[in-house]
Amino acid sequence: MQSVRSTTETMTVTATVFSPASSAVRATQGPPLLSRGQLAGILLLLPAAGFLLAFFLVPALTLFAYSVLTQRADGVVTLPLTVSHFQHFFGTSLYTHVLFSTLRMAAVTAAIAALLGYPVALVMVRSNAMVMRIMTIVVIAPLIVSVVVRTYGWELLLANTRTGVVNWVLLSLGIIHQPIRILYTETAVIIGSLHVFFPMMVLPLASALSKINPQLEDAARTLGAPSWRVFWRVSLPLSLPGLAVGFTLVFSLTASSYVTPAILGGTGAQMLGNLIEQQIAAVYDWPFGATVALVLVATVIGINLASTWFFERRNRL
């Protein structure tokens, strides 16, 4: 997501620079087309923009082009153009099922992250600098451990046998009498994703909450609002921009994850990422893999744009 956005910005800058309108200005008037500062800015952006163009944008566009091309029997992807891959995707209930469960797991993960994240973010911004620093480190700690190691850790914890840590604890406490099934379900994928992406929710929320003038909450309290109404009427609406950022990040990252569903989801909770991997690495069907990738990216971007629009509109009311 992030790289797509910065590439678009770079493109816009380039487009502005070489637009005919500004050349016309140059022809009629003395002042240079670009100030030294602008020129320096473009030069500074060039290396990164070139890198992204060569190693991200071109391959990505090539892959997306595959989704409307045909793969010959010898494996070469070529013309003619076709929409049959999309028809295949949307016509097969297995694939649409995976699409919807991907979106559902991503949305549930983002929603739970928001519910758990608000209290943490509130405590963070109300604490002194020392406590805030410690909490920040604790919150971002999961990001320091490799995603594979961390996910295998969860596999041990959530295992469906009597030796799985969660099952063992529940059995020992007498809460359950038979091991319950957690691993290879959507619940396991959501728990694993929540663990990794929680900081992506807490940090934007904390940043948004810390920008709220504390006198606003004092004012609400003197006007007769108990704490929960202060939060509901003042802190929550004013922190919506942070929630929008956090929701977008957690949702996108969860929806496009691969390792977590591969290890914790198994075949019980597949996501689009695993489908893409199967199509390309196991079945060697590049056009269909590209189709699934395009569907994933387009859906995630669409939902993010919609949620951003919703949050910003609410915020303006």
């Binding site: 003038n213 006198q215 606003l216 004092d218 004012a219 609400a220 309290r221 003197t222 006007l223 007769g224 609002a225 108990p226 109404r229 009427r233 003042v234 609406p237 004013l238 915020n315 009311l317």
Partner: protein, 364 residues
């Protein structure tokens, strides 16, 4: 608005932050309908005191009584308090009307009745036509008036003002002071204001509470506190004062004779004779400056060197130097008849004042 004026009493109100004492046993009686200003330099505990009355800060000790009943342990949202903040603290995501109705909603008042009261409150602050604007679309003065309407619409037992006009520019601040005072008088609402601006305190307050280092330094009407400062701190903080150090040397008639350095003698009207050293405060406007006609034979006059005369329109500020090197400031009003009394810097001048202008102050 039908506010029932409340009597407020603070009894030994104290706040500690760890070992630091922010407010130290503050006791004060506030009459119903009175406007009291807590005045002092930053860090004197005035804001903490106000926030304790509002219970945004929990007191470490002491009690707050409203109409004789203690409200110390009543949570903030159950107290009937209207408060104005320096930053206005309007909810930026709500319109003017939604801001004003907020307190009524919290009290569960029906929308229809609440709407009428909001209209009434906005009319009171002359913002009738602005209900549907957002705070960011209003000027600073208008925003503070919305905040005032929001605080008054709940018909609070008392109004607390935390540097309410501090963010406004000077001319707007002065007109808002007058407006605020008129409104406060009309509604007869008991008001406590915090300010570091002595002009604001003198203009608005029925009584001024001067605070220093968490303690109450002096309480009185603006005229009392200005004319009869009890301590050197008050004399220096409120307006400008000259200070003299001297030794008490018996009585002359009704007054106490204080002998300062360089043959300067002061007589101070005092009921009792203090012993040892004494500090005397003298307002610059009490000092008359003129040409040296004769050698000063008596007390309360001195020949000094004129260092600088600053023309300030209706006033002239004279900066004098006493023979011992101490400065003496005199403010003299211009007569308005066009005659400018010419006195050249560097020349000796005679400074004299009345015995009644000398104030014996505590020096701590």
């Amino acid at each position: 608005m039908h506010t029932q004026p409340a009597a407020v009493r603070l009894a030994d109100l104290t706040k500690h932050y760890g070992k630091a004492v922010a407010v130290d046993r503050l006791s004060l009686n506030i009459e119903p309908g009175e406007l009291v200003a807590l005045l002092g330099p930053s860090g004197c505990g005035k804001t903490t005191s106000l926030r304790m009355i509002a219970v945004l800060v929990q007191p470490s000790g002491g009690e707050i009584f409203v109409n004789g009943a203690s409200i110390t342990r009543v949570p903030v949202h159950k107290r009937n308090i209207g408060m104005l903040f320096q930053s206005y603290a309007l909810f930026p995501h709500l319109t003017v009307a939604e801001n004003v109705i907020f307190g009524l909603e919290m009290r569960g008042i029906k929308r229809r009745a609440a709407g009428l009261r909001v209209q009434e409150a906005l009319d009171l602050v002359q913002l009738g036509g602005h209900q549907h604007k957002l705070p960011s679309q209003l000027s600073g003065g208008q925003q503070q008036r919305v905040a005032l309407a929001r605080a008054l619409v709940i018909e609070p037992a008392m109004l607390l003002l935390d540097e309410p006009l501090g963010a406004l520019d000077k001319s707007l601040r002065e007109s808002m002071q007058v407006e605020l005072r008129l409104l406060q008088r009309r509604l007869g609402i008991t008001t406590v204001m915090v300010t570091h601006d002595q002009d604001e305190a003198l203009t608005l307050a029925d009584r001024i509470v001067v605070m220093r280092d968490g303690r109450l330094e002096q309480v009185g009407s603006p005229a009392e506190v200005y004319q009869y400062p009890a301590t050197r701190f008050v004399a220096g903080f409120l307006g400008v004062s000259n200070f003299f150090q001297g030794t008490v040397d018996g009585r002359t008639g009704e007054a106490v004779l204080v002998r300062c350095s360089n043959d300067l003698q002061l007589t101070v009207p005092a009921a009792s004779v203090p012993s040892g050293s004494a500090t005397i405060a003298l307002r610059p406007e009490a000092v008359r400056v003129g040409p040296v006609g004769r050698v000063p034979p008596g007390p309360n006059m001195v020949v000094a060197t004129l260092e600088q005369a600053v023309y300030r329109g209706f006033m002239v500020h004279y900066y004098l130097r006493l023979p011992g090197g101490e400065p003496l400031i005199a403010f003299q009003q211009n007569s308005g008849n066009g005659v400018v009394v010419g006195m050249d810097p560097g020349q000796p001048v005679l400074a004299e004042w009345d015995e009644g202008s000398n104030r014996l102050v505590r020096d701590e």
